[in-house]
């Protein structure tokens, strides 16, 4: 089978979704870990240093290109699959099978993904663009200038509407992961029940803990729990 045949088949397309999904899960671990530095109670010194490393070091910069590619593939392929899948039904049912056979969020991955895409656009505009392109206020740490990304977070999260939007997005992320985490591993072929049951439990844990940690960040910033 040629690469083209493989990646244009329905299973091949799902393999792309699964592998990029797992890659994005790994990214979330790095992201949540680094962001947790805001709770170091040091006025953002540790966080700004960490953010500086991610922006200045060549390794995370190369990984960043991979990250954008991963997001791009996951989003485009996701929408293409959704369109293909919708076409496969033809006439709609009068009575829907609904929650009798499956969880609502497993059937709503495209909707949850769209909410996350919307979030991603605002999120990049809020932090990535100023930090990488348009520039930020400097902060002096040990006589050296750093971008004050921490200060930018405090400013952005003064607005309760933005905080609410971030929290809602984290809930979307939780449900997207609740299905996506274990589904990705099934899609790439993990079928030993010993592993699938483990991955299911880990997946539920991950999809609660990580989005909860993310949601606590704007809330902490808004309510002044960081100092």
């Amino acid at each position: 089978m040629t690469w083209k045949q493989m990646f244009t088949s329905s299973v091949g397309k799902k393999l792309v979704m699964g592998f990029t999904g797992i890659f994005l899960v790994l990214f979330l671990i790095v992201h949540v870990g680094l962001n947790a530095c805001i709770w170091a109670m040091d006025n953002g010194v540790m966080f700004n240093k960490a953010a500086h490393f991610m922006g200045a070091n060549v390794v995370p910069r190369i990984l960043e290109i991979g990250l954008f590619a991963g997001f791009f593939l996951h989003i485009i392929q996701g929408y293409m699959l959704e369109m293909q899948n919708r076409k496969a039904r033809g006439t709609a049912y009068a009575v829907s099978y609904g929650n009798k056979g499956s969880k609502w969020y497993s059937r709503s991955m495209a909707l949850l993904g769209t909410l996350l895409l919307l979030f991603l656009i605002f999120h990049i505009k809020h932090f990535w663009v100023p930090s990488r392109i348009t520039g930020l206020e400097p902060m002096l740490i040990d006589g050296k200038e750093y971008h004050n990304l921490y200060g930018e977070m405090l400013v952005v999260f003064e607005n309760p509407v933005i905080v609410a939007f971030y929290v809602i997005s984290c809930i979307s992320l939780a449900y997207h992961l609740a299905h996506g985490f274990q589904s990705a591993f099934r899609t790439i072929g993990i079928n030993n029940p010993k592993y699938t049951t483990l991955l299911e439990s880990v997946g539920y844990g991950f999809s609660i803990i990580v989005p909860l940690a993310f949601a606590m960040m704007p809330i902490s910033m808004h309510l002044g729990w960081v100092n």
């Binding site: 299973v11 899948n85 049912y93 009068a94 009798k100 499956s102």
Partner: protein, 253 residues
């Protein structure tokens, strides 16, 4: 068990042929014994319609004991009706109460065009089987069953997958009208056994290619197929199919 009769109301999909537009027609069906099967209830209604000079409702059926895979009614939002692990012919009227309104639709999938009323063309499944759901044994006598050692666990899993009767309830239940549970059952059944080994890679690639050609959707692992399957085929087979496909596509030219 107490024998009772109930009066029900049916809302059935009527469609003259593949091209024409369908619609729901309501029927009052009084005096139905709760001991009747769902299809016998349709027989009673059809006998009456014929006696009244009206057109009976077309539906698929054959063995009426849950093994042929012909019956295919989507009843009150679930393929094969409310019971677990049964086909429409095994569903009995005691599953319903007096005065119930029962909505009956055909399988809905672009790959399963409606032939008439509740009958759909499931030829797509036949073509998927023709693409690779077989083993080639070109010569010789039947081999003694005990001559080929097979692990008990593998034999059991292969047998469980082989229980698939190809009714298409998985396609009907899936939000994507995906045929992955059917294809995965057929691929798993043969991939787990030594007899399936020679054509193992070609089989999975050809069956998936045919599945895509027929216009079925992709798998989202929602589990609706497994929940609707009258033979309780496990969704684990889909993960096995994915592994088979990944390995075959990476190791063939």
């Amino acid at each position: 068990m107490e024998h009772t009769t109930i009066n029900i109301k049916l809302k059935v999909w009527k469609q003259a042929n593949t091209q024409s537009k369908g619609y729901f027609e309501s029927y009052d069906v009084p005096g139905i014994s709760t001991e009747m099967s769902f299809l016998e209830m349709f027989d009673v209604l059809n006998e009456r319609l014929i006696a009244e000079g009206k057109e009976p409702i077309a539906f698929d059926h054959d063995c009426r004991e849950g093994i042929c895979g012909m019956c295919s009614m989507y009843i009150n939002g679930k393929p094969h009706g409310p019971w677990e692990g049964t086909t429409t012919c095994q569903l009995h009227m005691r599953a319903f109460k007096d005065g119930d309104i029962i909505v009956v639709e055909p399988w809905r999938a672009a790959a399963f065009p409606v032939i008439k009323d509740l009958m759909v063309d499931r030829g797509a499944f036949d073509r998927i089987i023709q693409a690779g759901g077989y083993i080639s044994v070109n010569t010789g006598n039947a081999v003694d069953g005990n001559a080929l050692p097979i692990e008990k666990e593998k034999a059991d899993n292969a047998f469980a997958a082989a229980a698939c009767i190809g009714c298409g309830a998985c396609v009907a239940a899936c939000k994507n009208s995906s045929a992955m549970l059917f294809v995965s059952a057929k691929v798993s059944h043969l991939a787990l056994l030594p007899q399936g080994a020679p054509e193992r890679k070609q089989r999975v690639m050809n069956m998936i290619a045919q599945m895509d050609k027929e216009g079925f959707g992709a798998c989202t692992n929602t589990g609706a197929c497994e929940a609707a399957c009258p033979k309780e085929i496990s969704i684990t087979n889909i993960a096995r199919l994915n592994a088979e496909y990944l390995s075959a596509s990476l190791t063939t030219a």
